[in-house]
């Protein structure tokens, strides 16, 4: 199976050749990561530095993507923005998917009352529209990046739990679980060493799907005024206010952040799609 590290390079090449779209997505994602990591070194300007002599500069030699309403370099802000997007997006989807996976496996494994309770809880959370739930969480917890992460994480948990649960359910029926119990293996050992690795496929798929959703949700929240705060560089935040008001005279302010969001969500979706096709073609309920 692909969990062995030595097989990753050859597996990746096979993946790239057979699924060029997914590979394209992966490349974009990797560039995002590098941009985020190397932002300090590669960004030409300090993203927080206001320069009132250079407000609304069109894209040019000095500022590749132009400047915004405060004279801040848009290109640098996009680079640092990938940091915020990945930090918020990745934390939220990683913790959301992981927590959801745990709940799903526990629910499937222990069954009975616990299963019913968890299912009801997940149903309740699921019946809120995505953005409304995130909004309520932000309003409850207050402003701040950490709270935004939590707000985006909460709607993700039940979605992952549901998918992982159905996958784990089929595993639960398998004889090897009963055999392991008969042999006296602890619940923990069975869950961690036998069940979790086998739900890795749906888990990874949900994770990549969530990443795209998380970035979009963060952008929407920032746009509404409930997300990350100025002057933090964040793509959704860059689309708020001045970008829209000056959209006709300084379109670059709205175009580049929008493109960045679209491209990254696009990439995550393409990659996730192809990953799913590669790992489990039967899992098409997403």
């Amino acid at each position: 199976m692909i969990y062995r590290l030595q097989r990753w390079p050859s597996a990746s090449l096979r993946f790239a050749r057979s699924r060029p779209l997914g590979a394209g997505g992966a490349i974009i994602i990797l560039s995002m990561f590098f941009a985020a990591l190397l932002a300090d070194a590669t960004a030409p300007y300090d993203p927080l530095r206001n320069d009132y002599t250079a407000m609304f500069q069109p894209p040019g030699v000095a500022h590749w993507f132009g400047t915004d309403a405060f004279g801040r370099d848009v290109f640098s802000r996009i680079l640092y923005g990938s940091r915020t997007a990945l930090w918020v997006g990745f934390s939220a989807s990683f913790f959301g998917a992981t927590l959801g996976a745990f709940l799903g496996v526990a629910s499937a494994y222990f069954g009975g009352k616990l299963d019913l309770l968890i299912q009801r809880l997940m149903d309740i959370i699921l019946s809120f529209p995505l953005i409304v739930l995130a909004l309520v969480v932000v309003v409850v917890l207050g402003a701040g990046t950490l709270n935004v992460i939590l707000a985006i994480m909460v709607p993700m948990i039940p979605r992952c739990a549901l998918v992982v649960r159905s996958s784990a359910l089929s595993l639960r029926q398998m004889p090897f679980v009963d055999a392991a119990r008969a042999l006296g293996f602890s619940h923990r050992r069975i869950i961690f060493r036998h069940m979790l690795p086998n739900v890795l496929a749906p888990y990874l798929i949900m994770l990549t799907a969530f990443l795209g959703q998380a970035i979009l949700l963060e952008a929407s929240l920032s746009f509404l005024g409930f997300g990350v705060a100025e002057p933090t560089p964040a793509w959704g935040l860059m689309l708020r206010g001045a970008a829209v008001e000056f959209a006709e005279r300084a379109p670059w302010m709205a175009i580049f952040p929008g493109l960045a969001i679209s491209l990254s969500v696009f990439a995550f979706n393409l990659f996730g799609d192809s990953l799913r096709d590669a790992l489990d073609p039967k899992l098409r309920l997403l």
Partner: protein, 317 residues
């Protein structure tokens, strides 16, 4: 079968109750209450006694369990109470916005279906060709582009190239269909495009799977005209999961289009939602959440019923 339906209907009640309790508690945990929000005006005085009086009048000073029971008692009699912000009946406030939200949801769903089924089928037929790639890219783009960005671009496009703006005030379809559609069609397209993404992919994989089935091969071998084969067999079986997905999302189209409504200035349920949350209008938020949850749970139920009815294997589980 009857037992199955009954069981499902009964299961709805604890779920709804859970939603009610959850939203009730969540709102009360939120800092600030509606009286504070009302006085969050333009820097004027907010006399303490007036705030206390208001709170008492809205019943906010009573113990929590009492407020909850009062509210539940009202729900049982289909009385949602009054909005804490305007004082008008909540049913009225929702009613005047429901027509627009429903219409938008229906049109968006129509757009999604009209886009996803032909495109998904096409992509499946021409799998792994550039047509397939194009369709997949096109549909994922719908998911990737932020809806508010798309909305802004649409409005700006109209203003710059046509010097025209869709009407900002709502006229009912029954009063003036043209004015009504001129306003709703653009957000419906933006939203529908977004929702078609998932459905397109599902149609594609469903058609692919069915195309591999034995009976299709037999039909082809018998020499039936390929189009007939396709339409009659593959599509019918592929439709089910697609309708499922579209149906499930429908409930959220009613209350979840918060950003779209803001950008296109639609007086819909989504805006009401955001406003009631920011105003801490407990009664209104609770009512809206219950409504959307109920719609979601109910559509889930209908879809499950459809599945059970169409696929006898599930029925006898």
């Amino acid at each position: 079968m009857r037992q199955y339906i009954l069981k499902r209907l009964l299961l709805m009640i604890p779920t709804l109750l859970g939603v009610a309790v959850l939203v009730f508690l969540m709102l009360r945990v939120v800092p600030g209450d509606i009286v504070e929000m009302k006085y969050a005006g333009t820097g004027a005085f907010a006399p303490k006694e007036a705030i206390e009086r208001e709170r008492a009048q809205l019943g906010l000073d009573r113990p929590l369990w009492q407020q909850f029971l009062d509210w539940m008692w009202g729900i049982v009699r289909f009385d949602f109470g009054n909005s804490m912000w305007t004082g008008r009946s909540i049913s009225y406030e929702i009613w005047i916005r429901l027509e627009l939200s429903l219409e938008l949801a229906l049109l968006a769903t129509l757009v999604a279906i009209l886009l996803s089924i032909p495109l998904g089928t096409l992509a499946a037929l021409k799998q792994d060709t550039w047509v397939d790639y194009f369709v997949r890219i096109f549909s994922i783009a719908g998911l990737a582009v932020p809806s508010f960005w798309l909305g802004i671009l649409i409005i700006l496009g109209f203003l710059i190239f046509f010097k025209w703006l869709p009407p900002l005030t709502f006229t009912s379809f029954w009063v003036d269909p043209k004015a009504n559609l001129m306003q709703i069609i653009w957000p419906a397209l933006a939203v529908g495009y977004r929702y078609s993404a998932v459905a397109t992919r599902m149609t594609r994989s469903a058609v692919l799977e069915v195309l591999r089935e034995d009976y299709i091969r037999t039909a082809r071998a018998k020499g039936l005209w390929e189009r007939v084969v396709l339409i009659r067999h593959a599509l019918k079986n592929a439709l089910l999961p697609v309708i499922t997905v579209i149906g499930l999302e429908f409930a959220f189209l009613i209350g979840g289009l918060v950003v779209t409504e803001q950008v296109f200035n639609l007086n819909g349920i989504g805006m009401l939602f955001v406003e009631s949350i920011t105003r801490r209008d407990y009664t209104m938020t609770q009512a809206l959440v219950l409504l959307v949850s109920f719609a979601f749970i109910f559509t889930n139920f209908i879809v499950d019923l459809l599945y059970a009815w169409l696929d006898p294997r599930i029925r006898y589980q």
